[in-house]
Amino acid sequence: MRNVNVPRDGVPVTQAKDVAADPSLGKKFRLRADVVIVGSGGGGSVAAYELAKAGLDVLVLESGRYYPSSRFTEHLGDSMQLIWRDQAGQVNTSADVVFAEGQCMGGSTVIGGCVMQHPPDWVFQRWVDNHGLADLAPEKLAPYFNQVGQEQQVHVNESHEINACAHKVIQGCERMGFSWQPVTRNVKRCALTGHCLAGCPSDRKMSALVTHLPWASAYGARMFADTQVTQVRTRSGRATGVDAVVMDPDSGSEVARMAVDAEVVVVAGGAIQTPMLLQRSQISDPSGQLGKNLAVQPFTQALAEFPEDLHAFRGALVGVQVDEFFDTDGYFFYSGLAEPEQMLAQGYLGAGQDHIDFMKKYKRMAALNAFSIDEGNGEVQWEGDAVNGSKKIKWNPGRSEFENVKRTAALAARIFFSAGASRVYLPTYQHLAVDSVFDLDQTLDQVDYGLNGMYTFRMNSFSAQGTCRMGLDKYAAVVDPDGECHETKGLFVADGSLFPEPMPAPPQWTVQVVAKHIANRILERRDGLFIQGNSA
């Protein structure tokens, strides 16, 4: 029997300032663990919890800072500067699509919109049929979904969690005859502050920061923030550990270099960073797919103006989803209007009076976020050496993807016009607004595919995936059905990069489920993986 105590709040994390203040560590130090986990977000935190609970000596390394919820200000600008990667400025090579990602203890779960969606069974059945992932068959994953669902306090929004923005969407859907549902979210006793994207200061959002990380720590996992893993070390086809740099999060200057020896390395840096870490570590990849198949789940936001005041930014951020087109077209829509700064990132940027008029109508606006499934043709590439190189995210919509984005924007606009909107601001780089549904198609026709669809729609990606795809065939997939790199023993991936096909749903729940599965496989194969023995 173990005495396991979860602290009332916070997580014991070693930060750059602690390393700098500890003379015994110096400028270079070495640690040992059974398992080193790279990244503390959706996947990494679940893996850390499961493996530490089973008695393994687990070390979690996170490149972002430790920003406990007691410091959250409910101000998107502050969070973006401190805990969103590249201050929310991570973009593709043509700089017109934003790839948002959390970079902090807890990763993107800290800044997520709280929507938890269990994708339909056919998604996983395709994984079985097309990629040989028998262990991920719907019936095998069902218990994991239940477990994560309970751990994350997932529940269907109750009526008080449906705000004015969501009500407008419901009204529009009812008139159009479109199916809609209240969303399921991982929030405990939501206080309806609407500040999800800035982090929840009263800890109602079940982010990794208040669930799997403190639980892992209670089971003995050690954690370092401000620690960027630069390389995975391998010898004779086996992972042997990682190299990392501890950096001051404010100045960016190096505090120390760390080497970790571990027989199992679990990389969970998310679908953009994980493949680049493996690329700069020159991990053998007979499939040639490492970094490829990037699916981005592009979304745009249609903003609608109504004749009456709505204050649609008040209440739970996400209330309802439109699921009418989910199975047929892979489109899904979520209600949700955040603070004024978010409108600027997504929306309509007029000059002068036009902008003033637009912002004065903020309280009369509602927003619908329109997602479509893309074909997974993007690519992430690390160029240059491990420390000074740079990343390239290559994704622009193909013609059919562009048409899907256009169609989802049109559908969102129609829903709002049906709900009585007097004007809809279109999510385009051109400055387009429509005052009547009859002008919608004609106005949207002004948005021409042009050169690779660049600078057409204001697209964002919150849910990159697929860059280390999982599959049985080592010539087609980067990792095997256990999440282990096909040709590097002991090197596992446990994050959104594993998805073998673009997923038509918000991914967090599935990422956590797959990470649980991988942790279980590591435990089941314990004798073969930890040849030097381990503490358990």
Binding site: H195, P201, S202, T211, E339, I356
Partner: protein
């Protein structure tokens, strides 16, 4: 052809196809080199004006450009909105500039030089953007909104900097009814870490 004619010709070429075909920032860099060669074309009275000590990341020309564009892009007179001079818009822009990575920062510097100087010929304003009256500056932005990829990107970046730096200030929120942070004001109970899942609690009990 004189140097200034050559420079004007470079800028006029911005809208033509070969330029459109080049990649966004690569293209912007080429254009900005052209921008450099005609920077002397129109000197501005503001070029010699001092820059406050607190400016850490904005170059002098960028500081003056932003300073002149703020009232043009945020004409709040006659509304209940907070006047931009009452909030630290320029300081926020300076701070945001400091957060950009080196490559993006360099490209942006070139882009801003380009945008400032291209006003001399683009739309035939005959003046740099920094010297345009608010009305003409807004018209210039509107033209760039409908322009090529580079123009659309640059005008969007400048607006983002100015608008974000304004709207991120709590003083700007009451006039649009935005409540800002509420947790403290509402006295919300702080829940802390979630307890271990029940299955674990049974095991460790």
């Amino acid at each position: 052809m004189s140097e200034s004619d050559k420079a004007a010709e470079e800028v006029a070429r911005l809208g033509r196809r070969p330029f459109l075909k080049s990649l966004l920032w690569g293209g912007a860099a080429v254009a900005a080199v052209a921008g450099g060669s005609f920077a002397w074309l129109r000197r501005s009275g503001v070029d010699d004006e001092p820059v406050p000590d607190w400016v850490r990341h904005l170059h002098a020309n960028e500081y003056h450009l932003m300073r002149r564009l703020i009232p043009a892009l945020l004409p709040v007179a006659g509304t209940n909105l907070t006047p931009p001079e009452q909030v630290p818009v320029l300081r926020n822009i300076d701070h945001m500039m400091g957060l950009l990575n080196t490559t993006v920062r360099k490209d942006l510097a070139k882009g801003l030089v380009l945008m400032d100087n291209a006003a001399v010929v683009s739309g035939w304003h005959g003046k740099r953007l920094v010297d345009l009256e608010p009305e003409a500056a807004r018209a210039y932005f509107d033209t760039w909104t409908r322009g090529n990829r580079i123009q659309r990107a640059l005008q969007g970046v400048v607006k983002q900097f100015i608008y974000t730096s304004y709207w991120r200030e709590p003083a700007t929120w009451p006039p649009v009814d935005y409540d800002g942070p509420v947790t403290e004001e509402w006295g919300l109970e702080y829940l802390g870490n979630a307890p271990l899942p029940e299955a674990d609690q049974e095991q460790s009990a």
